[in-house]
Symmetry: C3
Subunit: 633 residues, 3 copies
């Protein structure tokens, strides 16, 4: 399969007489894909039952005739105003109990059955009408589930569905009371109908309650999505995707991915650096026009896993965006670099969002490949260059690494429920691990916690995996790979209680966490030999070998055979030291990288990228600022 480019287009935003020229210009630029339809409900059904699909027929035809392949999106992220009037209860409520009203997008609660039925209806209309259309080569369900903090809803519909979900999970209220330890503070329920949502409690709710609500909310997203994929598949053979939003962890992307053929994600490197990477100010300044050097790569590897190998960037930042605290213009070259970063990680396609900047409404300041006045914007020129470069490059190649890093959305729910120390969060811990590996020149597979076969890996990292079922413990313990565990590994039961025996209770590893502590981040706990624990530390007991010690003489990491348990949060220096040693032992070569230079193996190539604002030297030669370098292996 050839690597391809594409864009996102809204024919309903432009006079019909512009469509053909737009289509020709896309094709001329070397684009293959055009995504349409995902926000068009009010134009397809301006009032209840008044269906107006002819314009969409024509748009698909015009685009298809120009040789473009269509990704058709279902419009369920933007229900029209009349639909909200008909179902006022469909609005989500926020944690303060306020309705999240009409006037932007994603104004629905995943649990509202009548809204789900409206979605069934409109998706059915789409699937029947276009399921056999030869130009429609892929589907997208909805748009960016969970964006704008929309996974968790505290509505009556959510409450009712939550009770039902609990009833199915626990069978009896006695079982639930027992599992949650509701005897504590007299929180015992007499029936499932007594259970409220865990917001607006006087002090924090029972973590078992809060975690169950997060799991339920995640499941609601998956089942909402599944209703769409089931309907589409009845009428179409084209692959189905969803465009996940970066750094959204409130629902399990793997579970949604189970119902998809392709995972796609929306990559806004500059916007993300400003509003969600979590870097310090010096780092934010250094990469303000380039984006964090590892954040995109991490997501690429994540969605390759979510898509079981098949994945795209569905929305690629094309210039300044409109929604971050600050919205700088990318350094020239970055729109090309980002695309190559994606292809280096195995992307099938990279689509720039959006074709032409809309002069109106919320995203009027979001750049496109064209300016509002229809002139070329920088993204078009860089995309054209990538399109030309793609002609001579190999097909899509799924790199597989010898290193696996487990990312588990359920663990993120548990850490969010109980961070223990201010600012601690699971995503950051996994991302920091990833960053340390990547700065050693390593390529990484991100895998889900349901994995049991680790035979293709030499090194497996599972930081912060707070709940670990017995068979995963066994599989890791028996793996040939080196396995790095901790902190908080298996620290909770499935219902968010502390297990007895105490964690990690890992077969083959005599280590017990006897006590844990969170510590102010300005009080690092130095380790012998360099580096520190920062923010979180565990007291370790047991007979396993001590492989890392604090300067105060406490065991910091312990090991038996292939299992290493790290009892704290390492800073970069400590991580690097630990990973370098394990790689050496496992026979994995490392190559320390500095500044903004990174690399990724992709089949016969090593693709170098320079996120720095100055040229840099690499083992493969000099690389320009915002440059890409192809090294043949």
């Amino acid at each position: 399969m050839k690597r391809t480019l594409g864009t996102c287009y809204y024919p309903e935003h432009w006079p019909e007489e512009m469509w053909a020229a737009d289509a020709r210009r896309m094709a001329d630029a070397g684009l293959t894909w055009v995504r349409i339809g995902e926000f068009a409900w009010s134009r397809l059904e301006p009032s209840p039952g008044d269906l107006q699909f002819e314009w969409l027929d024509r748009a698909i035809d015009v685009l298809g005739q120009a040789g473009l392949k269509i990704v058709l999106g279902t419009p369920t992220a933007t229900p029209p105003r009349w639909l909200v009037a008909r179902h006022p209860g469909m609005l989500a409520l926020d944690a303060d109990g306020r309705p999240r009203g009409f006037g932007s997008r994603r104004h629905y609660c995943f649990s509202h059955e009548a809204y789900r039925e409206e979605c069934d209806r409109i998706v059915q209309l789409f699937a029947k009408r276009y399921g056999g259309n030869r130009h429609v080569a892929a589907w997208q369900t909805d748009n960016e589930y969970g964006c704008h903090d929309t996974t968790l809803s505290y509505s009556a519909a959510a409450c009712e569905a939550f009770r039902e979900w609990l009833r199915e999970r626990y069978g009896s209220i006695e079982a639930l009371n027992r599992a949650w330890g509701n005897v504590f503070w007299s929180m015992e329920y007499g029936s499932f109908d007594d259970i409220d949502l865990p917001n607006l409690t006087v002090t924090e709710p029972n973590p078992s309650h809060a975690l169950a609500f997060r799991r339920f909310s995640s499941d609601q997203v998956a089942s909402f999505n599944r209703r769409q994929t089931d309907i589409i598949r009845t009428h179409s053979d084209a692959p189905i995707g969803h465009n996940f939003m970066g750094r959204i962890t409130e629902f399990d992307h793997f579970k949604v991915g189970d119902d998809l053929d392709i995972a796609t994600w929306d990559s806004y490197p500059l916007g993300f650096l400003e509003d969600r990477v979590g870097a310090d100010e010096a780092h934010q300044r250094a990469f303000a026009r380039q984006g964090d050097p590892d954040f995109q790569a991490f997501h690429h590897d994540l969605y390759r896993s979510v898509g079981k190998g098949r994945w795209w960037v569905m929305e690629q930042q094309p210039g300044p965006v409109n929604w971050a605290p600050y919205n700088p213009a990318p350094l020239p070259g970055m729109m090309r670099l980002w695309a190559w970063e994606a292809f280096a990680h195995g992307a099938e396609a990279v689509c720039y969002f959006r074709w032409r900047q809309a002069p109106f409404a919320q995203e009027q300041m979001h750049a496109g490949m064209l300016r509002p006045d229809n002139a070329d914007a920088p993204a078009l020129l860089e995309a054209r260059q990538v399109a030309e470069e793609l002609q001579d490059t190999p097909d899509v190649f799924i790199a597989r690494s010898e290193i696996a890093l487990i990312f588990d959305f359920d663990a993120d729910f548990a850490w969010a429920t109980q961070p223990h120390g201010a600012g601690l969060n699971y995503f950051q811990i996994v991302f920091d691990t990833y960053k340390a590996l990547r700065k050693l020149g390593l390529s990484v597979d991100i895998i889900r916690a349901e994995t049991r076969d680790f035979s293709s890996y030499k090194l497996v990292l599972a930081p912060g995996l707070i709940y670990m079922p017995q068979d995963l413990k066994s599989a890791l313990s028996e793996a040939d790979a080196h396995v790095v565990l901790g902190p908080r590994t298996a620290a909770r039961t499935a219902d968010m209680a502390i297990p007895v025996p105490l964690p990690p209770d890992m077969p083959g590893l005599d280590v017990t966490v006897s006590c844990v502590e969170s510590v102010r981040p300005d009080m690092p706990m130095p380790l012998k030999g360099g580096g520190s624990f920062v923010g979180y530390r565990e007291e370790l007991e047991g007979s396993a070998d001590i492989v890392l010690e604090t300067e105060a003489g406490q065991p910091a990491a312990m090991r038996s055979g292939n299992l290493t348990y790290v009892g704290g949060l390492c800073d970069e220096s400590a991580s690097t030291r630990l990973f370098k040693n394990l790689c050496a032992e496992a026979g994995i070569p490392t190559m320390p990288l500095t500044g903004g230079v990174r690399c990724r193996e992709a089949g016969d190539l090593r693709i170098w990228t320079n996120y720095g604002s100055e040229p840099a030297e690499t083992p493969a030669g000099r690389i320009e600022a915002a440059g890409v370098l192809f090294e043949e292996l």
Copy 2:
């Protein structure tokens, strides 16, 4: 007309037997004006229809007999409790949907028709009873419109009135949908009755929607005020004013001013420095007991414009206030300095707020001219000094400058709707421009964006004027004056869309803004020759002359003939350089000032003020800390 002093007095707060002595003491101190009445509704109508105006008759008489002139305020900022009970819907709702209840002041929604009728009734009673009273020499409507964030209300009454306002503005819902680009995200409405207020949306609302709501809210203030002025004028020939509050920009003061004879404003230099000037901490420390050296001057020039030449300070800070985060005592001399600053800018009158410090209720810690125990407070002594000085000074003189600075409330609404970068706001941009000019020793006229005749000016500045109608573009282009535009000039249509051709699309100036970016404030973008853009920059194209460049070699300012376009936000150094050059070219002499020293031309005088806490040298001689110096020209 002689320059005069006055004070604000609440006869209802004190035993009637104190009134005569108070009146005598005011007159003895050299005061001319006394403002009364504006919070007295519950004493004038203790229960519905039970009118008790006799005490007010007597108070006016006692004060008038002492030779004082009365400013009579309508009491509509403080409706009594029984009135709220009768009209519960009159309360404003905040953006979170919470009612803003009884128990302080300004507890009403401008759009509530029944409350407007209650206001008609009480104002009618005032106007009829006192319209012919010889002591009532001026009127004040309500008190500090918009104070405590009360312009925007999200009540049902506001929603209903907003729909009506939109119906009148757009005629048909199709026209509104088109103007706002509601096709985006399927936000199209089927009828005006579908339109909600733009709060509590999931992500930000359509900027066209948000801006329309701000304009509507502004218009509601103007029409609320107009009902009072219409009634008063039927019964009285005395001039009518309103006391605007400093740094309130949520409604268009010019439009309210159109219905007034005199603009007055409330000046609290220390409180404002603490809570709204927006200065850094070093500046706040340096001027904590004096106030910002330019903030009052800016408002003086603004309200001279709002009042079409006639303006007062209605409330002058007399000592520590009660409402700022910190409430220091002014440096001795400042109560005199502030008054002279106002007279230097053409004030007809300066009234100290308030006569005697009230020992009870919310403002018990707000100083007065007298202490609660009736002893003289410092403000009385300094006011007495000013009164003596006034005897030998010329009459009120409206200085006119050769430099005009446009301030447009509508532009402020647009920037508030879409700042693009965190912290960017229109007021600050205009104020920074003003400050740079004033530190060059220049006097400035602040003018409204409706101005079309610029013939009396040599230099016109119009920073950040985000919407610019065609005839203003023409007028500026054809003016004899040098005109400084940008950034964001004409960057939006009247309905908050990006215009095509791209901005500024200025006749006689071939400059196009092809791309804009906001940038972290800790990443200044240096300019060749010194100074930087900070926070915001535009990419400029076109054939106009480049007059300023970034160190990276991008055009920063471009010029053709009299028009200069600046494509970014200048720091003080860059502004100063630019303005100095233009003044030189225009033949306007400049005189750089430092520290807290400022000056203002007023007829045959140049009045120097020293906001510093140490004495300073000026071209006109030495000036004491907190001192005033009169230089004859």
Copy 3:
């Protein structure tokens, strides 16, 4: 009476077969007391009227048989879910009007009469059943009144009760309007039924209104508690206590204490340092694993006073807690040190919270004396050491000091109502005073503002006592002791107005505060001779002697005879200088202490503690980090 130790135990959390072993292990460790019952309502009455007290009978019996004495807690802090369903109006509302729902604890409004009756009923059941039980040696009412910000409720029940409270206090609405100055801003009420709670006003409410609501809310806690003590006393002779929470000042602990036999409090030194001591970051780092060296001592002295001499630590931190921003592990030795600090201040008993760490629900990460797997945790070992040490030490000894520091909850309400400067609060002012005294090696009695007999003291400190009745003024004026007043002494009437003559209006002291100011904390106002006022300063007039001056030459402290008035907030250096001089004059020896070393006289002993993380030298010898040293006097 021997000094004793104890713990908090929840038999309902554990299988009945574990109870006997637990009881034996407690007794073996040297514990005397075990507190039970206070969260067990849902197990005692799983559904309305279904009483299940037999398990509690057996638990008491098992524990008692092991030789332990029971403290029996009433379970009213955790009403079961069915009870909330029956009385939905019992929930408190927060200041934003949101209900504070079921799902944690303290989900009730103190003013809800039906809930009070449910409490009467369950307390009656407890008292009747166990009033004669020989093992039940003490009682506890409810749990931690006011914790989680639960004193102030804005519910309908609270509003109704507040109106009733006001009716009783003021008699007529005219009297209330007059007392509050409601003529200001037309806030006059026509009847008590017009009065709303002081939340959700447009700007701040009348301080008289806000203060009245705080006083009312405090009284509601006291009367809620009194209903329980009245019922218990009908059936039992055992002493009654309540476990106050540290740094909770929203209700008057002295008034609640009036109905108790013993005051107890819950001491979490590390959690408190992180979330409520208010220290700067360097101090927080220095004492992160030890707690603030004075915070516990302050509370010990406070509750000795609340308990009229009889007091306990009911919950002593045993290791990391779960609820602070960061939750570090204590330095080894601290669990012993904290206990000795309490005994040094006269505690009868110190009970560690809790016996065994619960693996489930909200406090699963709160350490216990045992780990969740039943192994000894560090607290058990240190408690055992204390138990052994206690065998050879003298009986409980109530040290009395020659120095008294007045702490007045009502003053805290007034400061909270009107801090005047951001961050100013009464608790901090009194605590800073205490700290300065303690760092001079002094022992302090904390006394209530109702005290009139000061004959046993040489030095009395009354900082910030904003309201001071005439007889207290007289008593202080006529005392033999040196008395230190100010700032803000007697600055308000009983109804929160400024008195005339101006404050402090102190017999025997010609000082008048003519003006007050709050100032940014980064602008200290230096005093001659060292030290500064920080944040707040008063202008002083009068003929008393000036004993402290600002560098600017203003009087800072003035004195006549035994009365010294300090017109500002002293930093530590200024306080220390002032107190040292007064102590010298009064013949009280001082002994400057540094770092984490402190001492306390306790009968024939001086007990030294070292909160530092390094050993230190004291006049009594070397003291280890986290160490305790006994010096015989």
